[in-house]
């Protein structure tokens, strides 16, 4: 049992909704240790993604993730654009042409996403970036891999939330926040937070469709 193309589309829509809901929070986080646009960037990006999804015509889960990727790349305008863009692109490639995404595939796709973010941004765990949310998420997904996709994504979302929270004491070494040096400590990283929001949304969506 896994997620069909329609279910993946629905899950990305939920993710878009949630990110848009969290716009002001993400703006505020980024205002403190960045340039204050992370919420706006993702709002703009995911609004464009939803418009693309409305167009329909996707014949595989990978196609949905791919259009999400290219749309984010073209519209986000900040670091999150190439980073999330590369993440969704690599996840799409990892899925290949499967028509249903199960737990194992979801874990593999998440891992590919992380690799993409690291390849693009060169951040290591502890640098106070979205990598600090995505890295534990991948580990959690991997260790739940034999469960259904809903459980895999739920484990990933829980771990991402914890990873994001753990960025607070860190000193940023990548991204704009690194300009602040020691002053970046004591604040939640906006990108780690948005990663946690996205994964929670995907997990919730999967739980709902898998329970039906």
């Amino acid at each position: 049992m896994g997620c069909s193309v329609e279910e993946v589309t629905a899950a990305v829509r939920v993710a878009a909704e949630k990110v848009i809901e969290h716009r002001d929070e993400l703006v505020e986080l980024d205002r403190v240790i960045g340039d204050g646009d992370h919420g706006e960037n993702l709002h703009r990006g995911f609004t464009a993604v939803v418009a693309k999804l409305d167009g329909g015509g996707f014949d595989s889960p990978a196609a949905v993730l791919k259009v999400t990727a290219t749309t984010l790349i073209s519209t986000v305008g900040g670091a999150a654009g190439p980073l999330y863009g590369t993440a969704f692109l690599r996840a799409a490639t990892a899925l290949g042409d499967v028509s249903e995404v199960d737990g194992r595939m979801a874990a593999t796709a998440l891992e590919a996403a992380l690799e993409g973010v690291v390849a693009r941004g060169k951040a290591a765990p502890g640098d106070k970036t979205m990598v600090d949310a995505l890295t534990p998420a991948v580990a959690a997904a991997r260790s739940t891999v034999d469960a259904g996709i809903a459980d895999v994504l739920m484990a990933a979302a829980d771990a991402a939330a914890a990873g994001a929270a753990a960025t607070v004491p860190l000193v940023a070494r990548k991204g704009r926040a690194s300009y602040l040096g020691e002053r970046s400590a004591g604040h939640l990283d906006p990108g780690a937070r948005s990663t946690a929001v996205l994964l929670r949304a995907l997990a919730d969506a999967a739980s709902r469709t898998q329970r039906q």
Partner: protein
């Protein structure tokens, strides 16, 4: 046929300014500004960078320079996403100093690697 440049910046004014400064000593080099978001705000625009990359090439390749890390990522993604066979490198260089040095080097007819190195080794001269 000279190596071209793309100036990737969060600011349209900054990209335009670097372009006019670098062009002063490199009248025959294609230097394309790619600054700001589509709606005129501060940020980078992937499609604008990709288009500038195509326009900067005259067959000898293109060196891209950037202002901040997110502009670097956009530049690298634009290079990886090329559908036409343009040789392009993203230079790890100070933007203004690298652009002027690279432009002068390209004006002299140097090849892609040499222009990239000129950017990377650039610093402020007196």
């Amino acid at each position: 046929m000279r190596v071209g440049l793309v100036i990737v910046s969060h600011s349209a004014a900054l990209a335009a300014g670097v372009t006019e400064l670098a062009a002063q000593m490199a009248p025959d080099v294609r230097i394309m500004p790619a600054g700001g978001t589509e709606d005129g705000g501060l940020g980078t625009d992937f499609d604008c960078v990709s288009a500038a990359l195509e326009r900067a090439d005259s067959g000898a390749g293109v060196v891209l320079l950037y202002d901040l890390g997110s502009a670097q990522m956009t530049a690298e993604l634009a290079v990886e996403s090329l559908t036409t066979p343009i040789r392009a490198i993203v230079a790890d260089a100070p933007l203004v100093e690298g652009a002027v040095a690279a432009a002068v080097c390209a004006q002299g007819g140097a090849d892609l690697d040499a222009v990239g190195s000129a950017a990377a080794m650039a610093h402020a001269f007196v």
